[in-house]
């Protein structure tokens, strides 16, 4: 089972990388870009057929290692 985890800085936590990319996009004339947030994607390949178990395991992985919940949020997407 493939599981995609997206980790990004929480709303309200300044994203300096996002800000730099935003300025860069504006400066190459994509003036319609109003905000950019940069995150990271972690793709896991799990040997697991039980979706609920996979979701529970990956949630634990996020809480313990993949995200720092002091500053980051995460989303989990299961791809069959």
């Amino acid at each position: 089972m493939k599981v995609i985890v997206n980790v990004s800085l929480k709303a309200g936590v300044l994203d300096s990388q996002g800000k730099a990319v935003h300025h860069a996009l504006n400066s190459i004339h994509f003036e319609n870009v109003k905000d950019v947030r940069v995150g990271k994607q972690i793709v896991l390949n799990l040997e697991e057929s039980d979706e609920a178990k996979a979701k529970a395991d990956v949630t634990k992985m996020c809480e313990e290692l993949l995200a720092n919940t002091v500053i980051e949020d995460y989303t989990i997407e299961i791809v069959k």
Partner: protein, 224 residues
């Protein structure tokens, strides 16, 4: 006084730290991350700077699962004194031994230079040799030194005198190199036993190398 210095794969300040504490007269030993106990007579445990595990995922994120960290947590729970410098500070926040987190510098640049710091609180063993408001000149060298803590956490830090140092200019006026909340450079836990800072006092031990202001900082531990 026996100082134990933790070494992870990628740590690179352990020998500077050893030099600094030996210069002050302490006995030192380097402890590899696979150790499962902290040497028994340790009076200060230092988590030295560097790039543990290549800073992969996040600075300090993988080091917190090294075998030795369980022993570090037990040592901390018993009230053992711990000092985390730079990457060591990041490891201690990741491990939950210190509040807050270190984000990428606001400028996105790696910063490597001398910077002034102002002593915010000295009612702790670390800064006992300095007075409140003293300004010291200490090198910084980091990419992820942008200290973040939410408002409630920040209020708690102030209420308990847990803010140790803030970035400033030579006159003591606030000057923020990396975007840290309130220009905070170092904090401690509520019990004032675990200390963390981004600047490197162990690199400020010789006037020949630009500053020996680190001596007064690290000396506090030796007299505790």
């Amino acid at each position: 006084m026996k100082v134990s210095i933790l070494q992870f794969p990628g740590t690179n300040c352990e020998y500077d730290t050893k030099y600094a504490f030996e210069k002050l007269g302490a006995q030192t030993q380097i402890v590899w991350h696979k150790a499962t106990t902290i040497p028994e007579d340790t009076s200060l445990l230092v988590v030295a700077g560097g790039f543990s595990y290549g800073d992969y995922l996040r600075s300090g994120a993988i080091a917190k699962f090294s075998p030795v960290m369980q022993a570090v947590k037990e040592y901390a729970a018993k009230g053992g004194k711990i000092l985390g410098i730079c990457n060591g500070f990041q490891v201690l926040t990741e491990a939950g031994l210190l509040p807050g987190a270190l984000k990428r510098n606001e400028s996105l640049h790696f910063l490597s230079k001398h910077h002034h710091l102002k002593v915010e609180n000295n009612d702790n063993v670390f800064l006992t040799k300095l007075a409140k408001g003293d300004v010291v000149n200490i090198p910084i060298a980091h990419h992820d030194g942008n200290y973040y803590i939410d408002e409630a956490g920040l209020a708690e830090l102030y209420a308990n005198n847990q803010v140790l140092l803030k970035y400033c200019d030579a006159s003591g006026a606030m000057k923020n190199p990396n975007g840290s909340v309130d220009a905070i450079a170092g904090v401690c836990n509520k019990e004032k036993t675990v200390f963390g800072l981004m600047p490197h006092p162990e690199r400020a031990m010789e006037t020949l190398l630009g500053s020996d202001d680190g001596v007064k900082m690290l000396q506090g531990f030796l007299e505790a």
